[in-house]
């Protein structure tokens, strides 16, 4: 496809500066239109579940401690290797966490740690305002990470039913999820309720894709 140019202006348009006047008219019109500015500190940007913000360790309401089981999956998958976990074996062979720390200054906020966690212990919250003047303040150890979670729930009004789309990626089959992650999610996060293009959508879907079928598809 050849690119089309607009017609060259003629002499009259040159003398009357038509195209410049059109531009001026546009800017004058915009002078009276509504500004789109968001007055940031007063007006917060919209946040969506699954925003990759400040890290937090989910506080388990049953034990009042972290859900982390020390499987090291997050530390393994982390591309910037900023998660430091130290464990020791407990009485019944489980791992007990000595140290769980995230060096946020190294973090690239990819969200992989949240996605691989089999128990939904770590999350990234919708908090993004935690800049600090010193490096120590943004080196999160276990206590700070748990406190981040408490503060997040308090600020946003979520409760323990909060689900993060990284714990259960939208469009993932139930069968591919760890047992702890099979939680209630909004309808269009599941494969049955997913968005389908307007032209593809047929009134009675010829063969609705079920969970088990899609797994073998």
């Amino acid at each position: 496809m050849k690119v089309q140019y607009k017609a060259k202006r003629n002499l009259l348009q040159t003398i009357l500066q038509v195209e410049i006047l059109q531009g001026l008219a546009l800017t004058l019109r915009k002078l009276f239109s509504r500004p789109i500015t968001r007055q940031y500190p007063d007006e917060k940007p919209p946040m969506y579940a699954g925003f990759r913000g400040q890290h937090a360790l989910v506080r388990d309401p049953l034990t009042n401690a972290s859900k982390c089981i020390g499987c090291m999956r997050c530390a393994t998958v982390c591309p910037s290797r900023c998660i430091h976990i130290k464990t020791h074996p407990g009485d019944s062979g489980q791992r007990l966490i000595d140290q769980y720390a995230i060096d946020v200054l190294r973090c690239v906020f990819c969200g992989y740690c949240v996605e691989v966690c089999p128990v939904g212990a770590i999350t990234m919250t919708e908090v993004f305002e935690y800049a600090s003047y010193d490096r120590e303040a943004i080196y999160f150890d276990q206590e700070i990470l748990l406190a981040n979670w408490d503060r997040f729930l308090e600020q946003t009004g979520y409760d323990d039913t909060y689900v993060n789309p990284f714990w259960r990626p939208r469009g993932t089959l139930e069968s591919r999820l760890a047992a702890a992650m099979r939680r209630d999610v909004p309808a269009d996060w599941t494969i049955e309720g997913q968005f389908v293009g307007t032209k593809v959508r047929q009134p009675p879907a010829s063969k609705p894709i079920t969970d088990t079928e899609a797994a073998h598809a």
Partner: protein
């Protein structure tokens, strides 16, 4: 004790009275940290010598120490203006190397995010290009639309800029109804906004004077200089990987490739403006024809890929589900090399992998369009004026993150 000297015009050997200006790396119009060493005769550039490397982060070396899945994160930081397109380009390449299938829905979502990235990247190009030439209102109008797209990215994958959206074998998150509704609204409104930009600059006599006939590149020369993308198409070479070597679902899309004629700044500008419309059409088709199905292939590797085939990562008892079970009995890691190019907004982004059968690339080379475009600057920028050089840098659409990697 310092001596107050007259202006330091370097006169070497009495014969050279060139005015040497090192433009950048801290200069408002060099789009990041490009430095151009200029030899000036008045305001005319006698010699133009672009210097790169101020944003070098060693991604190609870093990639050798990370698994294929972890490297997706690095590709965000290449061309940070269109991170989605880089993610897709990388994943297409790795999927070819590792022979991973991608389900059709994921292909469509990839095309969709690629085109969103193309629009947002071209918006930023138009914004900065217009600002370089002095039309600062276009800058803010463009950002108004770009903001909509970035917020859609944030809703889709949790991050505005460093998306890390694709996965080997698919994408990370399915689209939601709310995202598609907003995208539909954007697609419907966008042509009006393009008309707005064009009102301000398209026929403006100052804009025409600043762009027509500036930095012309003939078709042969453009091919010689390895230009790709709209910069090449502006010179009249009909080459678009999306159409000629389709990847993802581009073979099912109906779109045209705008090709200019003259190869000057204005032709490249018109090409990109036309691409806005084409990308918008592709987005509309994506919304209409998004197929149902899973977004991750059934043989897609886990995020935690073992670095060596034999190595097994131990897990706790919570395992016993497909996501955590490793695909270690599958011939996942293939030996050999592969070069796969994709069409990112700037041009041809190619990934070349050499794999020695490990879980990470033995060598990853990135053929980034910006690097070659900056190389072309030395040729194009000769004999023009400073103000034209700014326009040419703008029109080549370079991003230093991608150039220096």
């Amino acid at each position: 004790m310092t001596k107050t000297t007259t202006l330091d015009v370097q006169v070497a050997d009495g014969a050279d009275d060139k005015y040497r200006l090192k433009m950048g790396p801290q200069h408002p119009a060099t789009h990041g940290v490009l430095r151009v060493d200029l030899e000036l005769d008045g305001e005319t550039i006698d010699k133009c010598d672009p210097q790169v490397g101020y944003l070098h982060r060693g991604f190609e070396k870093l990639a050798e120490h990370r698994t294929y899945a972890q490297n997706i994160v690095l590709t965000d930081r290449l061309d940070y203006i269109a991170a989605m397109a880089n993610n897709v380009g990388y994943c297409v390449a790795v999927e070819k190397l590792l022979a991973i299938d991608v389900p059709p829905r994921a292909q469509f979502i990839r095309v969709m995010v690629c085109e969103m990235a193309r629009i947002s990247s071209h918006l930023l190009w138009l914004a900065t290009h217009a600002l370089d030439i002095g039309a600062m209102t276009v800058f803010l109008y463009c950002f108004r639309e770009r903001e909509v797209l970035l917020e859609l990215f944030a809703e889709l994958c949790g991050s505005r800029l460093t998306n890390t959206y694709t996965r080997l074998g698919g994408v990370r998150q399915d689209v939601t109804h709310s995202i598609m509704l907003k995208l539909q609204r954007f697609v419907d409104e966008f042509p009006d906004h393009i008309a707005e930009y064009e009102t301000l600059i398209d026929t403006n006599r100052i804009w025409l004077k600043r762009t027509i006939g500036i930095g012309p590149i003939s078709a042969d020369k453009a091919v010689d200089l390895c230009l790709t993308g709209p910069s090449l198409r502006g010179s009249g070479v009909d080459y678009d990987i999306r159409q000629h070597v389709p990847y993802a679902a581009y073979d099912q899309m109906d779109f045209e490739v705008p090709v200019g004629e003259t190869g000057d700044t204005y032709a490249r500008y018109r090409c990109r403006m036309e691409e806005f419309r084409q990308s918008n059409n592709i987005l509309r088709q994506c919304i209409e024809r998004m197929p149902p199905g899973p977004i991750l292939g059934k043989d897609a590797p886990d995020l935690i890929m073992p670095a060596k085939p034999g190595r097994k990562i131990e897990f706790d008892a919570v395992a016993g589900n497909a996501l955590i079970k490793l695909i270690d009995n599958r011939d996942l890691y293939m030996e050999g090399d592969v070069y796969v190019a994709t069409e990112v907004p700037k041009g041809e982004l190619g990934f070349y992998f050499i794999s020695d059968g490990m879980g990470r690339p033995y060598r990853m080379h990135i053929r980034s369009p910006s690097f070659l475009h900056i190389g072309a600057l030395a040729t194009i920028g000769q004999g023009v004026m400073i103000a034209d050089l700014i326009a040419i840098i703008g029109t080549l659409d370079v991003v230093l993150g991608e150039c220096d990697r």
